[in-house]
């Protein structure tokens, strides 16, 4: 398993400012890319709703005065043991052997939503107009592109992030920037209790420890 490539994102919660640039750039690229269109319902009405592969959420923790606000980007984690794949009755959901990306074949998907039930993270969204299951593709149509300049062969969200909070790379290669960030900065996976082994990792905020240390100093 570990000899194969496993592409993933490592998200640095220290520097994410919650600007949603990754959300809009993801939507922009993927709605016109091979995974699209990502349709919107009632786009200019009171309750607009649509398909997105990436969301930025906001959380608070602690109690005054030791509080923190954490912006938390969330997309498919490309699990090494993806629970969404074996449940698919048609084989439309699959995990690529060559790079570990979990994808949906839209031509085989029957829109039964069972894979979304089998994902504890809520990473999959059924496209209301196309009636097929959609999810983050790690911009599979960008990262291997032969027409884009080398420097742009990264997921759209990574390129859009103004604070470089998103690191893209092979988490099975110990020398990659992503692997180093995980090992050196305490990268962790979400909901480890379900043993899905997410490939995407998050880097914990260290600011609170710094503030605590400063308080204890005086």
């Amino acid at each position: 398993m570990s000899t194969n490539k496993q592409l993933a994102l490592v998200i640095d919660l220290n520097v994410c400012v919650g600007c949603h640039a990754c959300v809009t750039s993801c939507k922009e690229w993927n709605t016109s890319g091979s995974a699209g269109p990502l349709t919107d319902l009632n786009a200019y009405g009171a309750n607009p709703s649509g398909t997105f592969f990436n969301r930025v959420q906001t959380y608070e923790a602690g109690s005054f005065p030791n509080t923190q606000t954490v912006h938390f980007p969330k997309s498919c984690l490309h699990c090494e043991e993806p629970p969404c794949v074996p449940v698919c009755p048609t084989g439309a959901s699959y995990k690529r052997k060559e790079d570990g990306i979990v994808l949906v074949d839209y031509d085989k998907c029957i829109g039964c939503s069972y894979c979304s039930w089998a994902c504890p993270y809520g990473a999959r969204e059924l496209d209301e107009e196309r009636q097929v299951m959609t999810k983050c593709t790690l911009c599979v149509d960008r990262i291997y592109s032969e027409t884009l300049p080398e420097s742009e062969r990264k997921p759209a969200c990574v390129l859009a992030c103004p604070t470089s909070a998103r690191i893209f790379g092979d988490v099975h290669d110990p020398e990659s920037e992503a692997s180093k960030a995980i090992s050196e900065r305490g990268g962790y996976a979400l909901m480890p209790e379900w043993e899905t082994q997410p490939a995407n990792h998050y880097l914990p905020r260290s600011i609170m420890e710094t503030i605590d240390a400063a308080r204890n100093d005086k």
């Binding site: 309750n47 923790a61 602690g62 449940v87 048609t90 999959r124 969204e125 979400l190 909901m191 379900w194």
Partner: protein, 311 residues
């Protein structure tokens, strides 16, 4: 989870047909007990109709029903795929049984095959839910027991009703005895349901905001799910009903699915009455729809942790 009406109708209709065929196959496997006309003109056509209706209902669950045939592909890993094979298998065996009934005697092997396919379909249906390990309400053997017991009780009630409208003389057992068996099944199913509800109440969710986000610190709360107008995640995984509606539906389930039919059956153990059995069957089925609705509504999906606040 959002209750899915296609699946509510599919599981209740197929379950009833399975229960009916199960009893008929069990009674006849050692030799003909129920008369051939009763089987060929009533029981088997009714079963087949119910199975067909359930199949039609299941298609309404799909975004692309025209690709439904693909769903039989992944039977090696997917219980849904296995179910897609098991349902037509039960239907085919029902037709085969029908042909044996009208041409003579049904071999024990055919009844046995029918029994096995019925059990297989119950297992596949229940396992679809039971195998999702992080929906703790579903991930328990009681899911299979509940589906099977309620399939048997609704099928048993239907058999009793059909025997009475046919005035079937072939049975060496009285309607009173069948009423007793159905009463017992409902009593068991009721106790199982109460046990499941108690278990659901005491479940400790394995996931929480700390494990879902990994944020260090106490008192983690969401201030924004990242959008305001709703999404697939807010529609598919919440029942969107108030606690009051839920508690009222629980009362309806207890009354309609279990207690009401049990009272009517208790009366019909002494003096069998076709109207009573018809009402019991109707009540039980309406109750079953509510029971299956609640099966979805009371399942808590861990993804809901990520979708708590709009701001």
């Amino acid at each position: 989870m959002r209750p899915q009406f296609s699946i509510i109708f599919f599981t209740t209709l197929a379950g009833m047909a399975q229960g009916l065929l199960f009893f008929v196959a069990l009674l006849n496997i050692e030799g003909p007990v129920l008369s051939a006309p009763f089987l060929s003109m009533l029981v088997l056509p009714v079963s087949f109709t119910l199975l067909t209706l359930s199949l039609v209902a299941s298609f309404f669950h799909l975004g692309h029903p025209e690709r439904a045939w693909r769903a039989a592909m992944m039977w090696r890993t997917s219980w849904l795929s296995r179910e897609v094979i098991a349902l037509p298998a039960v239907m085919t065996l029902t037709v085969i049984t029908f042909f044996f009934v009208i041409t003579g005697i049904v071999p024990a092997l055919v009844w046995a095959a029918l029994l096995i396919s019925i059990l297989a379909l119950w297992i596949c249906t229940a396992k679809i839910y039971q195998c999702i390990r992080f929906i703790q309400e579903w991930s328990h053997p009681s899911t299979l027991s509940n589906f099977t017991l309620l399939g048997l009780s609704s099928g048993g009630l239907l058999l009793e009703f059909l025997l009475m409208i046919w005035n079937e003389p072939g049975a060496p057992f009285g309607i009173s005895l069948i009423s007793g068996v159905n009463f017992l099944l409902l009593f068991l199913a009721l106790n199982l349901k109460l046990w499941i509800w108690r278990r659901n109440q005491t479940l400790k969710p394995k996931s929480n905001l700390a494990s879902a986000t990994g944020i260090k610190g106490s008192n983690i709360r969401q201030t924004s799910m990242g959008f305001m107008g709703g999404s697939f995640n807010t529609r598919e995984f919440f029942h969107h009903q108030t606690d009051r509606v839920i508690s009222n539906i629980r009362k309806i389930i207890l009354l309609m699915t279990y207690v009401g039919p049990m009272i009517l059956l208790a009366f019909s153990m002494n003096s069998p009455n076709i109207t009573q059995i018809a009402i019991a069957l109707l009540m039980h089925y309406i109750g079953l729809l509510a029971e299956r609705w609640m099966f979805f509504a009371e399942a808590n999906h861990p993804q809901n942790l990520y979708y708590q606040r709009v701001s």
